[in-house]
Assembly symmetry: C2
Homo-oligomer: 652 residues x 2
């Protein structure tokens, strides 16, 4: 008894000080290193190893150090105890040890060959944090940021292709990987390389779906820095954003797919139920995300007009914005839907409506806050991936399986991009050229989402093997393909506007702007008729009813709603909307011209004279300002606000 | 086996979806409610229930709902298992159940009367999150923000009194509470109200130290809003900030105090060792925090001058600033020191040196980021306190103990404030009036720190009882005293400048400013000689050597260092410092005049004509700008930066 008490008090003391501090410190240290590296790279325009690759490398080295330098202080923990009374593993275990009850919590299932010395290393244990932290805390800001910073105009211009790549492409990729892996597993069982675990076809499909989430963050960062062709950028960015959502919902649907009897036989009913699940989950998540954004827009709209004064407290506004967006994610997860999809569309809708209602100070604050969170979360995830290779304690390395997966991933990417591009080119006015297709094939990196999906479930042994494999594929693709992006761009002769960064004469800029303006004026008449009618209807509806209802832009509702709705309309319209009426007709033109046409810049990807290229870059810059993105107009206003506000809010 | 597999797969599925999402959603919901409430309160100038009180109330209601509405779905978990082979509770338990090894992790010790149905309620279990989250994630931003936003001038003017209250006062409070509680416990054991747990005198002192951490966040927020007398505000703010640090170090020292034999006898050696521990930990933490800040200042300084360009990436700068400040906390914790003290002094030093080196954009970003994190963290903690009353599963309510603690807390506060004020008034030129003393007595609220210290260790049963008691005292003081602040201010006839908020004629402001300027000019000569010589030396050193070395302000090092150091000095001085040389002499005067005199505004707390009162408020405003706090000068620069930068950093 005395000895036991002493033992516990020693552990208590250990818990009391530096509980968790060392692990967080290691992450901080890695992030600081990463930031300094980024800064160095940016300073020297070094592009062969991207910051995410660097973060992974640092994580890897740190993981190696932790694994082989720290010792296992806990002697007892290697021992496996037998409890005859237990028939299954409850999530909480109450154990009576020498007349004192202790509470234990379920962690995971452990494969027999992993029950060895390393199990007891408390440091390793603590470094592998709960996968729910990935899903609930680290991923949402990344996905929200992607949605929030989506360039709407370019996105909608390529919407058809993006949807095809994201939905059809991911499904193809998932099935191809699943089939190849199933063949591999069968063959491996046959030659005795794999014990007879129950590796069903659904497990292979599960692996296929999680490996279908591409994450070309490295490639996109380089594209952005080099100002690579906007259409290629948008195609890749749009595909990768939506494809994550699709892959996650697919993984979810497959994991709840439960054929009645023989798990290997094809069960049509269960299959269709799964497809139904997929559609239901996707639609539900979409609705959840958008409705949260609409609620935010309404609250911020009300505040600005009727009850006012929330805009006087930019921190409250930012807080509300942040919490409601995060709630969209959490509500979807809690309702059994997919939070990632919800938060993605929440981000898109917030950017479309709520952003316009925010006070200038809040616009800035939310933008910077989400940018910062995205930056931190991304680097934490990549550091963690590096760490996980050595600190995760239940790896199951199977070289054959890994080789098979690598082959499957590339075959799947090829059978996704090339056939779909061929089909899309049949319908597109503005073809996707061959070198773009190669670049998209090359950009099939796997990253955070694949990793997060794999680590979410490492409880059974097939899942642990999948996790190890997924991790190694992430390493391989990020380092090899991420590092090879710039050479590949040069080799494929894809133009990029690198010179623009270094400095362009502002006068020339203005000239180019005028040129592109007149060019788009020419396009206007020819392209108006070609716009997809569905989007035209949606834009009309959005412009006439939703924008006036949810923001301060657009025509007043009194002029767009039928006469008998006038009293309601007057109540719902912001006073400032009336002033915008004149300006408004231009906006319609811009929308028709910029957001709905499929080939406004039809000469965009043949190597062309410098003038046109500057023009398309200019367009990007113009859009940024138009979206209020740190534009000058909002800035002046903010100055007035903060000058009066700084004292009031500094301790509130 | 089949049944077991099914069981596990069901749990897996449950883990796969909404793991942790519901709990986070509940917090989000509570925070959203709190923000809407704050907004409502601010709109209606309602001051009887402060936002923190509101957050606690919402948490309480939510806790009640969770406790009595959710059911315990896990049938098995109420059962206590006996494992004969185990002789103590290891931190990780490997259990072999029907030929599969499972891993379990140690949570806590459970008192026998708490082993009942509620133990198995998974929802309740999940809502009580790990106390290390409080210490490592929620507290640092709050404390850092306190240090970062400390008004240096007012703080230093009252430094002697603040240090006396913080160090002597907290020690007195701790000992008084400890003694009273020890008497209570003895009496309770005597009348049979308390079982013979081993409730040592050190346990009582431990309770005393944790209950000595005052947290007048509610009072200060109201003071700030009402513009209550700056000296009273500074006394309270300074005391509460330093007092937290002292209380935490005290708690730490007491918990490692280990008398040789009889734990109740006084052991002089152990006592002095404890005092030594206290001083060592405090000094070590101080050094750790300051040195991190100096490193940050050096990095940001280097970036601005020699290697440049980090200021071109404000997000990297902000990230580095954030991570290094957090690392100060974590390193101190990891080294067995006190992170809170480290992060507090890190904040103070960052504000003094690093802040000046940041690019204007980063100044803004860091300020807003820390403000936002402080706001969120504070409200999360108060919500959580409300929740904990019903969701924490190991409460031990003991009415007598609670009553005793309440009495002890008030006696201790009184025997801290009144005697110390009396002694201080003997030395102070500018006395602390009677009504200020009453107000300080009244502001002895207990809040986040007391709660965090109590929840950090709830493993043994005396500690569980202390936790319950601490929680109830927090509730009582926040609601009763927090709510009574405004009436108390009126009753004690402490003037406040409420009218200033509503709007003051800017012309009048300027006149007042001129008036206060000339008043301070008059003071200058009379007070210069009275400044404490120690601070004079420190300021001289800081101004001549540290500021030029670490920031861009101050005279160039070439003029302050002896001649033979010139080559080194030239290397270390920023080019912009030479330009500041002329301006600089004024700064010395300001420092001498404003920061070191004890009675520059000697007429500050007798009800006085309006002009003087506006003058003192004006001084606060002036200081804000002087510290670069959203000042206009830095703003223009930022505009230039972001205009060029927005594109570059939006996806980096």
């Amino acid at each position: 008894m005395e000895k036991l008490k002493k033992y516990i008090s020693v552990r208590d003391e250990d818990h009391f000080y530096h509980q968790g501090a060392v692990e967080l410190l290691i992450f901080n240290f890695l992030l600081i290193l990463t930031i300094l590296t980024i800064w160095l790279f940016k300073n020297h325009r070094f592009r062969f190893l991207h910051e995410t690759g660097g973060a992974m490398l640092y994580g890897l080295v740190m993981g190696l150090i932790i694994r082989y330098v720290t010792k296992s202080p806990d002697v007892e923990s290697g021992t496996v105890y037998e409890c005859e009374k237990l028939k299954s593993g409850p999530s909480t275990l109450l154990i009576n040890i020498t007349n004192q009850v202790y509470e234990y919590q379920y962690k995971r299932e452990i494969s027999h060959h992993n029950v060895n010395g390393h199990q007891g290393n408390a440091m390793l244990q603590k470094m592998t944090f709960d996968p729910s932290i990935f899903f609930n805390i680290l991923l949402p800001p990344i996905i929200f940021h992607a949605g929030y910073s989506l360039k709407k105009r370019h996105f909608f211009r390529n919407l058809g292709s993006i949807l095809a790549y994201a939905f059809l492409g991911t499904a193809i990729s998932c099935i191809v990987i699943g089939l190849i892996m199933y063949g591999f597993v069968k063959a491996m069982v046959h030659i005795g390389q794999l014990k007879q675990w129950e590796f069903h076809f659904t497990d292979c499909l599960f692996f296929g779906s999680l490996m279908s989430a591409t994450d070309p963050v490295t490639v996109l960062a380089i594209f952005h820095e080099l100002n690579v062709d906007t259409d290629l950028y948008t195609l890749l960015f749009g595909e990768s954003v939506l494809n994550d959502a699709v892959a996650i919902v697919l993984t979810h649907s497959i994991s709840i797919y439960s054929p009645k009897e023989n798990p290997n036989a094809f069960d049509a009913a269960a299959f269709f139920q799964s497809v139904g699940n997929f559609l239901g989950i996707f639609a539900g998540s979409f609705a959840m995300g958008s409705s949260y954004a609409v609620v935010t827009a309404l609250i911020s709209f009300m505040h600005l007009t009727k009850f006012t004064k929330l805009c006087e407290f930019p921190m409250l506004e930012t807080g509300l914005f942040f919490l409601l967006s995060w709630s969209a994610f959490l509500s979807a997860e809690a309702a059994g839907l997919t939070g990632i999809v919800a938060v993605l569309f929440c981000g898109v809708t917030q950017a479309h409506y709520t952003y316009n209602n925010l006070s200038p100070d809040s616009k800035m604050r939310t933008k910077q806050l989400f940018e910062f969170m995205n930056f931190l979360a991304e680097n934490v995830i990549f550091c963690y991936m590096g760490l996980a290779l050595f600190t995760f304690q239940n790896h199951i390395f199977n070289p054959l399986f890994i080789f098979g997966a690598l082959v499957a991933v590339f075959v799947a990417r090829a059978s996704n991009i090339y056939p779909l591009s061929f089909l899309l080119n049949l319908g597109r006015k503005q073809k996707i050229p061959r070198n773009f297709q190669h670049m998209m094939m090359f950009s099939g990196l796997r990253g955070a989402i694949a990793f997060a999906l794999a680590i979410r479930d490492t409880k059974s042994q097939p899942k642990q093997m999948m996790f190890t494999t997924a991790l190694l594929i992430v390493f391989f693709t990020v380092w090899v393909f991420g590092g090879g992006t710039t050479p590949m761009l040069t080799w494929l002769q894809i133009r990029f506007g690198f010179f623009y960064r270094v400095g362009v004469d502002p006068d020339e800029d203005l000239k180019a702007k005028a040129a592109s303006q007149s060019a788009s004026d020419l396009d206007k008449n020819t392209t108006k008729a070609e716009s997809a009618w569905l989007f035209r209807i949606w834009y009309g509806f959005d412009h006439k009813y939703l924008k006036p209802l949810l923001t301060h832009t657009g025509p007043p509702l009194t002029s767009t709603l039928p006469e008998w709705c006038n009293p309601v309309a007057r109540l719902l319209t912001s006073p400032s909307a009336y002033g915008d009426q004149l300006k408004d007709d231009d906006t319609v033109d811009i929308i028709n011209n910029d957001e709905l046409t499929e080939n406004c810049e039809s000469s965009a990807h043949i190597p062309v004279p410098a003038q046109d290229s500057t023009g398309s870059i200019q367009a990007t810059g113009k859009e940024d300002i138009q979206e209020g993105d740190l534009g000058l107009g909002g800035y002046k206003l903010q100055l007035q606000h903060t000058a009066g506000q700084s004292q009031k809010s500094s301790l509130a």
